[in-house]
Amino acid sequence: MMQSDAQLRHPTSEYEMGVRVCAAVKRYGRVGAANGITFELARGELMALLGPSGCGKTTTLRLIAGFERLDAGEIEIGGKPAASAGLHVPPERRRIGMVFQEYALFPHLNVIDNVRFGLHSYTGDRDRRVEKVLEMVGLDGMERRHPHELSGGQQQRVALARALAPEPAVVLLDEPFSNLDAGLRVRVRAEVRSILRQAGATAIFVTHDQEEALSLVDRVAVLIDGVVRQVAAPQQLYRQPADRDVAAFVGDANFLPGTAGGRTVECEVGSLELVSERKGEVEILLRPENISVMPAGADAGARVRAVLFFGHDQLVSIQLPSGRIVDARLGPMYHFAIGQPVQIKASGPVMAYARHV
């Protein structure tokens, strides 16, 4: 199920437009990489394009940047048309700032010259601007270094500074954290977020890492098979995924068949409250953290099948009497043995989707 166009628009009607992508189509030969992408973001908003690899999110970013030509649809940046049928504004005239996956710093230029590179038509004091941006990303003191003399995290910040310096209408970031090791990533992410906020920038991130998307931005657009399935704030996206695919992609998900009867649904784990009214045969979404598990007598129908212990939490797989497996996320203090009979309890409200036959 897709959201309607009205839902894909930004929730508030009074706002300054940052980027508008409308029914964007891009095909490579017969393969469609973008099959009618639609979303908008306001000025100053941070958005993530999230999706599995090959879903068309990088293509979308490159369409906005102007590195790829649109086959159909429209793109506006800062209220000005950037691409549509018969119009292709070249990248250099779109007022975009791009942070590449591999940073793409110019190896023959030092940090200052890299950052100054985009300031050729900047009207203010260029030196002052470079200084300010470098200070913002915390690289003052490294001005004379060349890219190969910087660590990965530092290169990342130069790339960000270079993109921000000309005050672009939108900053586009293509998997910007994928080259950093896990420990560094969390810290750099937070830094980048606060730098972008401080600069008041409008930004679009491309990522396949849901944790990254959820923790970083104001709204997330989920792309699957070249189509935007849902645009929502992180909390809403996680709690109320628009369809089954989105639910399965964002976070861990259990699906159980049930019969909806208005405000509640009957299923194998009991009667649960529904998020919205519905009737008929449905499939409900149970997040693992909404399931609690209790030890029970030998006559209980559910059994523990597997335990994955992570430390801060654990994932306990439970086989229901019907044979279905559901995963429950529990705190580290519980201990369950494989084969142990248990009783489970789910808490609502839950989302319900049309059942796949």
């Binding site: 250099e92 791009m98 591999e102 110019f106 023959h108 985009g118 420990g183």
Partner: protein
């Protein structure tokens, strides 16, 4: 000190504790590392510790000695050249160096290098750009054709030039009835620049191509996103990024031009190699020849050192742009396609079609006039004999050198490897001359025998065999050897039953490359061949010198075929190593 011990096995309890303190609190996900690892380690390490200092096997010592001996053998000519030049005495050497004659030779050579490099830029860089970055039709074909002149010996090119445009060439004979008494002379600087450019521009073409391909496309996109148009992006980002590749290509061109003997001697331009040869021929005191040769060696070594510097710079350039190869958008030529095609076609005609046509023209004329092909068969047989001998010896000598360099990296093995590569940088005439001195004075029993010629070939072409065998070895994981050892084979059995069978493609490629190069070798064959021993190369050279163009035609045609074969082998080699 704890730090001197191998990390993996030698980690003691103290090391682990230090490690934990040094890196402070672990991030969340690595919490399990806090488990006292050292307890496990100590138990598992104990039985392995004695293996830390394996006994040095006798096989390994033998390998080091054999490879070292080969390296010394390769150094012999150069060392002797130094001795020979030095024997003249400092004052005499200084006089020779300061003489006007030497100055003129240096000036000639540098002028030639400069002009050929500039001309190669004009052909190579646009050609590379067209075949990498644009939608030019048949790019692959143009690439192969553009690289092909590289393997054609320069003297074949010079021969075709003289046979076409020279005073007895056919253009002159066609124009004479029209009243053209004399074409402008092809001999000297213009002819040498023309011939050498056509056969050395591929070095620039290929390095520029590699540079264009290796540049991260994201760099161009970054410049575009920062507000630069296509042309400005090329000037401000692409060109600076190409700088190291272009410098490397120019150095290769310069190196080739300095070392070339065939073209300058046929076209009678007094650069180093020809001056050395003339000096060697004309006087009994050959000290001047050896002094000139040493100056040439110094020049080539300077070039080689700069080439290495440039390669270092190149690595820096590539470091920032690794990974994520994205499809690059090709520049659409539109109507410019036609002039572009004309340019490519013109280069190919000048480098390949014209020489081949000239050769065929004179061959047909010669056959029509009843020219005997008998000398050609003798020369072919001689070439085949010498080249196959050289290929066999070179590969046998290359094996220990390459194996040592790949499996036992050390300062010693680097020295061995570099010495074996000497022939790659040294001009052929220098190697030949030094072996003449050496043979005449110390080894009269092999002087002017086929053995001596083979030795010269091996010094010159060993690098080719070492190169292919080394890249073959690099692809054989040491784990395979270890697996064989763990299954009970000793080192020698491992070599015979695992390494050599896996190395077979590399060995054959080495044989082929050395064979084909030796077929085309000229200066060493001229100086060191047994009396009356003609090969295809020397036959072309002497026939052209005497303006018997029909006699040179058949050998030239055979060598053109040999050149095409070289190209096929190089291309296949690149496919195998995936370059």
């Amino acid at each position: 000190m704890a730090n001197d011990r191998p990390r993996l096995w030698g980690a003691s309890r103290a090391d682990n504790i230090n490690h934990r303190y040094k890196y402070g609190k672990r991030p969340h996900g690595q919490a399990r590392d806090a488990f006292p690892v050292y307890m496990m380690n100590e138990r598992t390490i104990a039985p392995l510790t004695p293996d830390l200092q394996p006994r040095v096997s006798s096989g390994r010592i033998a390998l080091h000695i054999v490879a070292g001996a080969i390296a010394l053998l390769m150094l012999l000519p150069l060392a002797y050249l130094g001795v020979r030049a030095g024997s003249a005495g400092a004052a005499q050497v200084f006089d020779m160096l300061a003489s006007e004659r030497t100055g003129r030779v240096v000036l000639n050579s540098l002028t030639l290098v400069f002009l050929v490099t500039v001309a190669s830029w004009c052909i190579g860089v646009p050609f590379a750009w067209l075949t990498v970055r644009t939608d030019l039709p048949m790019r692959k074909l143009w690439t192969v054709l553009g690289a092909l002149p590289l393997v054609i010996p320069s003297y074949v090119g010079a021969y075709s030039l003289v046979a076409m445009m020279g005073p007895r060439g056919f253009v002159q004979s066609w124009l004479e009835p029209l009243g053209v008494e004399r074409l402008p002379s092809i001999y000297g600087l213009p002819g040498a620049v023309w011939a050498l450019t056509l056969f050395t521009y591929p070095y620039l073409f290929l390095s520029a191509r590699a540079g264009l391909q290796n540049l991260d496309p994201a760099l161009d996109e970054a410049a575009r996103s920062l507000g630069y148009g296509p042309w400005q992006t090329f000037r401000r980002v692409t060109l600076p990024g190409l700088r190291p590749s272009l410098a490397a290509g120019s150095l290769l061109v310069a190196l080739y031009v300095l070392s070339d003997f065939g073209a300058v001697s046929i076209l009678r331009f007094n650069s180093f190699t020809r001056a050395i040869y003339l000096q060697y021929l004309s006087s009994f005191d050959r000290t001047l020849a050896s002094v000139l040769a040493l100056v040439l060696v110094v020049l080539t070594i300077l070039l080689l050192i700069s080439a290495q510097r440039v390669q270092g710079a190149m690595r820096e350039y590539q470091r920032a742009g690794v990974g994520a190869a994205r499809r690059r958008q090709l520049v659409r030529l539109g109507a410019w396609r036609w002039p572009a095609l004309l340019f490519c076609l013109g280069v190919v005609i000048a480098c390949l079609v014209l020489p081949a046509s000239v050769v065929v023209y004179w061959l047909v004329r010669g056959l029509a006039a009843g020219e005997s092909l008998l000398p050609v068969w003798t020369a072919t047989a001689n070439s085949l004999r010498a080249a196959s001998g050289a290929a066999a010896v070179a590969v046998v000598l290359a094996l220990p050198v390459a194996y040592l360099a790949v499996r036992f990296p050390s300062r010693y093995s680097t020295w061995v490897y570099r010495s074996a590569y000497l022939g790659n940088g040294l001009p052929g005439i220098v190697i030949a001359l030094s072996l003449v001195f050496f043979g005449a004075n110390y080894a009269p029993f092999i002087y002017q025998t086929l053995a001596m010629l083979l030795f010269a070939y091996v010094v010159r072409f060993l690098p080719e065999a070492v190169g292919t065998i080394r890249s073959g070895l690099l692809q054989i994981s040491p784990r395979l050897e270890e697996a064989a050892r763990s299954l009970g084979l000793n080192r020698r059995q491992t070599v015979w039953r695992v390494i050599l069978p896996l190395l077979r493609p590399g060995i054959w490629a080495g044989v082929a490359l050395v064979f084909l190069s030796a077929m085309k070798e000229l200066p060493a064959t001229l100086l060191l061949g047994p009396t009356g021993f003609t090969t295809l190369a020397t036959q072309i050279w002497s026939a052209t010198g005497e303006a018997f163009f029909t006699r040179a035609a058949a050998p030239a045609l055979i060598l053109l075929a040999v050149s095409a074969l070289s190209m096929v082998f190089i291309l296949r080699q690149e496919e195998i190593t995936g370059q």
